[in-house]
Amino acid sequence: MRLQAGEVLAVVGENGAGKSTLMKILGGIYTPDAGEILLDGRAVQLPNVTAAQRLGISLIHQELNLAENLSIAANIFLGRERSRFGPIGLLDNRTMNRETERLLSRVGLTLSPNTLVGRLKPGQKQLVEIARALSLDARILIMDEPTSSLSQSETDRLYEVVFDLKRAGVAVVYISHRLFEVERVADRAVVLRDGRNAGELARHEINHGVLVRLMVGRDLKQFYPRTHGTNSDAPIRLEVREIRYQDGPDEPMSFQLRAGEIVGMAGLVGAGRTELAEALFGIRRLTAGQVLVDGEAVAGNGKAWSPALAIAAGLVLIPEDRRLHGLVLQESVAFNLSLPNLSALALGGLVQQGKERHLASGLVERLRIRTPGLWQKVGLLSGGNQQKVVVGKWLAHTPRVLIFDEPTRGVDVGAKAEIYALMDQLAGQGSAVLMISSDLEEVLAMSDRVLVLHQGRLAGELPRARLTEEAVMHLATGGTAD
């Protein structure tokens, strides 16, 4: 991959294609296992962030790294504060503020350097990040999904800044999912797939269709079992009627899941899939609409709704962040498997150890969880086995609706196949499965149909017959349904 002064190079690829990893190597956060990085023709080492910054490479993260409780000036000079009187180190606020004002005007912000960053809008924060990079005399600026949280006008403002930087000779690497943006800002585009360079496009070659074809295009492997039959007359297990939820889109959303069906939910990072799952499971407040399980209205219309009630109604969630939301890591396999089932295991409020052991060992066997024992700390298991524990705790009773959020993230290939087999089996037993996934391959292989989300809204639905990666990506990147 090459980058020239004064050009904007777009790096595109599916989730997990290796874009962020590559950029973190350039930013000095990860060290490469092999290969060379040449800067101005000379090989350079980037052991850490400071080294990269000294060489003029600045990385602006997808998640902004600003201290919200400090002022703009304090953020820009964080770790490099200007001071007076040498070793005493009194802050030289005057110099820092003057410098900050100059930088802010360069990125087109008219704000006092003393403004607290927490008060800024997302777009303004993004510009402050850029100002910080400029203060480091960045010659190479790497922007990872810079517009993911910006409004349209903020995005336009950002483009102007990018064009200004380009004119000033700064080389910009622009990572984005949004292919229309790439068409607009990039001088060149590199497409990554599975961590490899899948193709390079010059400015006049860049268009939506070509990018998608390069991002996709590979054979599906054979470890996706499909034994459950599909029946379009099966009873409706979950009906979502015109719901809106806390911090969600204004537009209400509706869809249905039938018994014995695996429905994929695709979309880009930030499309609002996890938020939707949280709303359905009672973590996020529903502000409008209704949720029905087996025809019975369980949530919405001011009814109380919480994870405990959702579980009681037979609707369970396998959360995206299993270490934070799925498991009590320091506790044992048995503890975690029995946690939501304790009332069934208890007599007079006391947990019956024999019953607990029976339940846990049954699940360990059924899911083939590889663990030295039931009392092993779950945090010490491999990612795949941890995930099986997260799923397993819901299988003491067959749930009516299961929502899997990124079920195979950080899971090895062997455990992946087992989780797919389990989903297939659950569908065969009449459960409805909603599989939220950024792994397009598994979405295509496992789903009976796919719902695609774009910016919080349902962009379209694809039946299995019309299911292709191109079709999913088209909808997910803001294309319209035809």
Partner: protein, 328 residues
């Protein structure tokens, strides 16, 4: 066999082992310091103190497992002690007054729990406010100096003596009743913490509240119950305090007790981050402070060094604990 070993491991983990060693060492030091320290009377004194501190330590220990903290224990003890006398002076039968004092503790626990869960206030802050408020109430309730059992109407005197006999100083079973009370409480709380559904939820919430929420645990109810247990124990502590000391000076009664209780729980293996601890450990942790006090008396150490010694023992315990955890 494997199950038995891992079960024992869970029960007597390194942290409990550490406090067992500390208690044994301190007790040995005490017994060898002076022949009089080996007297039965001295053992009874230690048992009395252990009973009193133990009740408070168990309460706050349960709360700490859930990830909470209570700084108002000492003030609740003072308020309870003062209230008991004032109620009896105003014609409440001592049995009823005792019950009301304990229930007042429960009520304070409900209030703390609601503030922490429903308004999402920080436990440290809520109970710090309680520390001031309840101490102030104790002072306001006792305008003429220190309320004491001597001010109780004479027709209630036999009932008060009964309470003293059955709850604190008497020894119908050969050991001070307060120790029997403590062990009974420990048995109940031990079952609740280690074997019940509530206990499981307590550990899950303490370790990872989010995961517990996603598993459908009724977080708020559990937390409130933990506060109720803690403050009920503090209320009971107030009753025990007045029965033991006869008078309660509203400005100083029970001062610093919250810190003694927290110290005992932490030395006994409770992690202030929550999710760790055992009732057995709390009992042993509660024994440390009475032992240190007796060592100071019998070892001829200046009384002024008491706090220094307590602080150093806690520090040593923490360091040993850290080293064991690392090696583990």
């Amino acid at each position: 066999m494997n199950n038995l070993v891992s079960g024992l491991n869970r029960l007597a983990n390194y942290r409990t082992l550490g406090v067992i060693v500390m208690v044994a060492v301190l007790y040995a030091v005490l017994l060898t310091s002076d022949p009089k320290a080996r007297s039965w009377d001295n053992q009874m004194t230690i048992a009395n103190r252990l009973g009193f501190y133990g009740v408070l330590t168990l309460g706050v220990g349960v709360l700490i497992i859930s990830g909470g903290i209570d700084l108002s224990i000492g003030s609740v003890v003072a308020l309870g002690a003062v209230s008991f006398v004032m109620l009896a002076r105003n014609g409440y039968h001592p049995y009823l007054a005792g019950l009301l004092v304990v229930l007042m503790g429960s009520g304070i626990g409900v209030a703390n729990g609601l503030l922490v869960t429903k308004l999402r206030l920080q436990p440290f802050l809520v109970t710090l406010c309680g520390l001031f408020v309840f101490r102030g109430l104790a002072r306001w309730l006792s305008p003429q100096g220190s309320p004491g059992l001597g001010q109780v109407p004479s027709e209630f005197k036999p009932a008060v003596e009964n309470l003293r006999y059955w709850l604190f100083g008497g020894s119908p079973l050969g050991v001070p009743q307060v120790l029997v009370l403590l062990l009974a409480l420990a048995a109940v709380l031990g079952m609740l913490v280690h074997w019940s559904v509530f206990g499981r939820h307590l550990f899950a919430i303490g370790y990872n509240e989010q995961a517990a929420r996603y598993a459908g645990v009724a977080i708020d109810r559990c937390k409130i119950l933990a506060y109720v247990i803690c403050s009920t124990c503090a209320g009971l502590g107030g009753l025990l305090y007045i029965l033991d000391n006869q008078t309660a000076t509203p400005t100083s009664a029970g001062a610093l007790l919250e810190l003694y209780a927290i110290t005992g729980a932490v030395i006994g293996g409770c992690s202030l981050r929550g999710g760790e601890g055992s009732v057995l450990g709390m009992l042993l942790g509660a024994a440390l402070l009475p032992l240190i006090k007796q060592i100071i008396i019998f070892g001829g150490i200046s009384n002024d060094l008491e706090y220094v010694l307590i602080g150093l023992v806690l520090l040593a315990g923490t360091i040993v604990d850290q080293l064991l955890v690392k090696r583990n």
